[in-house]
């Protein structure tokens, strides 16, 4: 199997060196499930830490949670961008994303703006405000990407259907 003239003695845990089509398929399924679990776990932990932060319960790793949350959003955005490029994004998700994503994004920006205005007027604008506004804006950007990906997914499917009809 594979090019035996270049056999290796080591390979990383995610390497597909030496795997055949069935093994690669199983690995891909495991990887996808792992990615999903990781995203949901990070989102859940971030939500809990943010809730604690809002109630002024400061515990270690809250800043690290923000970094993990950002990385998670980037990962999910890349996933949606790549899947929509091939038109394989879940169509029900795409449909809800086209409007839901836009509405959620606008609401998050509005929430961030209101937060800034209210805290500035009250004179309580501080680091806490920056963190909450940052989370709102990051999530808003992801929601807009989600909306765009939903639309692109349907466009790719429509273009593929037109190509088939022309043949």
């Amino acid at each position: 199997m594979a090019d035996r003239s270049r056999e290796r003695n080591t390979a990383g845990v995610f390497s597909d060196y030496g795997l055949d089509e069935r093994q690669k398929l199983i690995m891909a399924n495991i990887g996808f499930k792992g990615f999903k679990i990781m995203c949901y776990a990070i989102a859940a932990v971030t939500a809990v830490l943010l809730a604690l932060y809002i109630f002024e319960i400061i515990i270690p790793f809250q800043f690290a949670a923000l970094i993990y949350y950002t990385v998670m959003l980037i990962g999910m955005a890349v996933f949606e961008l790549t899947a929509s490029k091939y038109g394989v994004l879940n169509q029900v998700h795409s449909f809800s994303s086209t409007t839901g994503g836009l509405i959620a994004g606008v609401m998050l920006i509005a929430a961030a703006a209101v937060n800034i205005i209210v805290r500035t007027v009250k004179g309580t604008f501080n680091g806490d405000t920056v963190i909450i506004v940052t989370i709102c804006l990051l999530t808003a950007v992801y929601q807009f990407i989600r909306c765009a990906c939903g639309k692109r997914n349907f466009k790719v499917l429509d273009d593929e259907s037109k190509e088939t009809e022309e043949e």
Binding site: M1, A2, D20, E21, R22, Q23
Partner: protein, 66 residues
């Protein structure tokens, strides 16, 4: 999924082991075993490679009799 007994008998007719067939079509022995047990649906490319290795057609090995 049903077992692929045709593949097993075609392989046995040539006195070929699962390992030998696996090496011929560049997959693992476990994958040949999974195909014979009906646990894995191979791609069309792998199906044609297997048929070529056994000197059979797709109908002979992978067509289900109704």
């Amino acid at each position: 999924m049903a077992k692929n007994l045709k593949l097993k008998s075609a392989r046995a007719a040539l006195d070929m082991s699962q390992q030998a067939l696996a090496e011929k079509v560049d997959v693992s022995r476990q994958t040949i075993n999974a195909i014979e047990k009906g646990d894995y649906n191979p791609t069309l490319k792998l199906c044609t490679d297997i048929c070529r290795a056994l000197g059979k057609t797709l109908d002979d090995i992978f067509w289900e009799n109704e």
